[in-house]
């Protein structure tokens, strides 16, 4: 019961904020809604028992990436928001049609998967540690060590790339 209430409230918030992100005229408002949206998603993770991912979601997404967005919006939005020039959206019809098609497709998959349920959940994984953080960490540093290192390389490259791109040519 409590789970259902939490889910529906959070789902409503997530979708509502997402719509506001996409429709807000002022990009700064979009960013604010995006933060709120991410916080709600983090709360959803908590209800799913994924505390570590929730904390990372808040720390990296809400506290890091979106701040970056806010900075860029404030830097480039000073004079000329693009939507102020031409009424209506870009490819409005095409875009919404495509989005609708994806929705239908995904819904079809969902319905189909419900009709023929997937294999029953495998037995719970047994890891030598307990606690969500420890378990995620264990997996990251054992089975998924190579992807982990690749991800860190990716971040390093992205960092260098961003600095090179954003630097003013002197």
């Amino acid at each position: 019961m409590a789970e259902a209430i939490a889910f529906y409230v959070l789902a409503a918030c997530i979708l509502g904020f997402a719509v506001l992100v996409v429709t807000a005229k002022n990009p700064v408002h979009s960013v604010v809604f995006l933060v709120l949206d991410f916080l709600c998603v983090a709360a959803l993770y908590v209800t799913l028992g994924a505390e570590f991912v929730a904390a990372i979601q808040v720390l990296v997404y809400a506290g890091g990436i979106v701040v970056l967005y806010l900075f860029v919006v404030m830097l480039v939005n000073v004079k000329r928001p693009p939507e102020a020039f031409r009424a209506g959206g870009r490819h409005a019809t095409l875009g919404l049609a495509l989005a609708g098609a994806v929705l239908v497709e995904a819904a079809a998959i969902a319905v189909w998967s419900r009709l023929s349920p997937a294999a029953p959940a495998s037995a719970a994984q047994t890891l030598p540690v307990s606690g969500n953080t420890e378990q995620v960490g264990w997996l990251l540093y054992t089975s998924y060590l190579v992807p982990f290192e690749v991800a860190s390389m990716l971040l390093l490259v992205a960092m260098v790339g961003a600095i090179v791109l954003a630097r003013k040519e002197s």
Binding site: L15, A124, Y144, A166
Partner: protein
Amino acid sequence: MITPTHYLLLSMALFTIGLAGVMTRRNIIIVFMSIELMLNAVNINLVAYSAQVQNLVGQVFAIFVIAVAAAEAAVGLGILLAFYRNKETVNIDEMNLMKW
């Protein structure tokens, strides 16, 4: 009772909203943000199924997605700033040159 299907529907709706944003908005920063929404939709799925099947691999992948999103945001916004400096616009329709 909240089943994974509920989460799937939620994530689907979120993905669709993000997609609509990508397709219809003209401000490239909002387009970027819509992509973040779509990535989050994926993450919700991963985490929900990870909880369902009692296997933490889903959460591990969610973390990878977040890492990739961070990298994407950094590089994407870097490109955007460089672009803005040259063209003085963030309108995605005006970004129609392969080089200048």
